[in-house]
């Protein structure tokens, strides 16, 4: 199998199946990642908030949840979402895509809650003390002083979580939900051109994540410069 043959095959695959890769695959991958990070961020914020709760039991439950999610493979969690979730709540009639989304959101929320927690923790404690000494209560201090500063730590980290998720969603191909890795499986199945399909998908993944990482880096630098 010569280099020229591989190149020719890649061109052929792109001509025949470009929509499978670029339309179906890329859009499902991005859709899954956007949904996951968006709802993961909301749920993660709630978890981070709950972790600061006065009630030890709330803190305990959240800590246990985060540890379990971070301590088990994401593929296992996807299996759980795909097979067990629809069985537990049959009334909802969850589609494969929705079940996978829910599993990814839950996974992401655990990581995002840690991102937010450490973003808040990274704000110098002197800031809190100064605000409290002026008479601001804990809530006002959090909203007006700590969070606006923590956002500078949190947003770039959330961006990186998004990049991570683009790669993690490839695991969803185990359940054939239509993202990029599923495109690979489909095209490979139809053409038996294993290597060529893999190269195409790999390049697409790389271009997306590399571009996004650079965009995030620029964004981060702009934000730091604003101080």
């Amino acid at each position: 199998m010569s280099f020229t043959t591989i190149c020719e095959n890649i061109v052929m695959l792109l001509r025949e199946y470009w929509h499978v890769f670029l339309i179906e695959g890329v859009s499902y991958t991005l859709l899954l990642s956007v949904i996951t990070v968006f709802f993961g961020a909301i749920l993660g914020s709630l978890l981070a908030l709950g972790k600061r709760s006065r009630f030890r039991i709330v803190r305990g439950i959240i800590t246990a949840f985060v540890e379990v999610i971070r301590g088990t493979p994401i593929l296992l969690q996807l299996y759980f979402g795909y097979f067990i979730l629809p069985m537990m709540v049959p009334a909802l009639n969850l589609s494969a895509f929705t079940s996978i989304c829910i599993a990814l959101v839950i996974n992401s929320s655990a990581y995002v809650s840690e991102v937010i927690r450490s973003g808040i923790q990274a704000v110098d404690h002197g800031q809190t003390e100064a605000a409290r000494s002026l008479g601001l209560n804990a809530r006002q201090t959090m909203l007006r002083i700590v969070l606006p500063q923590a956002v500078k730590n949190i947003l770039p980290a959330l961006g990186n979580e998004f990049v991570m998720m683009i790669k993690e969603t490839s695991l969803a191909s185990t359940f054939f939900v239509g993202e990029l890795m599923t495109s690979y499986l489909k095209v490979k199945g139809a053409t038996w051109l294993n290597l060529e399909s893999l190269i195409i998908v790999g390049v697409i993944y790389f271009v997306i994540t590399f571009t996004l990482s650079k965009v995030i880096a620029v964004f981060e630098r702009r934000m730091r410069a604003g101080e």
């Binding site: 800031q127 100064a130 409290r132 000494s133 008479g135 007006r144 606006p148 101080e227």
Partner: protein, 246 residues
């Protein structure tokens, strides 16, 4: 009325883990009085000061501020903190706000002033400390001395009854100590009740009505500046003063 101290502490005890930092401090600060606290590092002076506005919560003892026991859990300490300005060693200015917003945030948020009134007052305060031209800048590029002057007027904007200074010049480059001390001097000359933890002995001697010497979590000696600096009674005060440059 003026006989009632502004701040009175009764038998304050504070520990950090196994470390017993305050071992029963009973002190008082009268209205318009300027009290400096001196002593070696780790003597508990900063902790004592931070107890006064409950940034550190003592395990034992009481703190009366204008007659109210603020260690009482039923008391809303936030209301009383509005009347106690605090200046920190590391300035703690808010980097995400402009210089002016640093000053106006608390008075507006806590509904003491309208935005317009607060803005006017901020400009007046900034003029007083020579920072008016920085009003719309973020504090990031200010020098240490400028940051500390900003921190002082930020506290003043709440129109406090007492100012607490926690080593306000210890983190400054030597050439900036003077400008900050001058601001404090002007303030106490204007009659502001102040408690100052400091290593600047000359400064303490010059502006204080009373000096407390703390060591090992206790106030070992208290008196006028000339009593403490010229005729110290306690051997540990003598020992400490012999080691510091005056």
């Amino acid at each position: 009325m003026n006989n009632e101290p502004m701040i009175r502490t009764v038998n304050l005890h504070k520990s950090f883990g196994a470390l017993h930092v305050l071992k029963g401090v009973s002190e008082h600060v009268s209205p318009q009085e300027v009290v400096s606290i001196i002593g070696p590092s780790g003597s508990g002076k900063s902790t004592f000061l931070r107890c006064l506005n409950m940034l550190e919560v003592p395990e034992e003892g009481q703190i009366f501020f204008e007659g109210v026991d603020i260690t009482d859990k039923k008391v809303d300490v936030n209301l009383h903190r509005q009347k106690m300005g605090m200046v920190f060693q590391l300035f703690n200015v808010f980097p995400h706000l402009t210089v002016k917003q640093n000053i106006t945030l608390a008075p507006v948020l806590l509904k003491k002033k309208s935005q317009q009134e607060a803005d006017d007052m901020a400009m007046e305060l900034l003029n007083r400390v020579g920072l008016a031209d920085k009003a719309d800048n973020k504090p990031g590029r200010l020098s240490g001395g400028q940051k500390q002057r900003l921190a002082i007027v930020r506290a003043l904007a709440m129109e406090p009854d007492v100012m607490l200074f926690d080593e306000p010049t210890s983190a400054l480059d030597p050439e900036m100590v003077g400008e900050v001390l001058d601001v404090i001097k002007n303030l106490v000359k204007g009659g502001m009740t102040s408690v100052i933890v400091t290593h600047e002995m000359g400064f303490a001697k010059e502006i204080s009505d009373r000096v407390l010497f703390m060591d090992d979590g206790m106030v070992l000696e208290s008196g006028t500046p000339s009593e403490i600096f010229n005729t110290p009674q306690n051997p540990r005060t003598r020992d400490f003063l012999s080691k510091v440059l005056m």
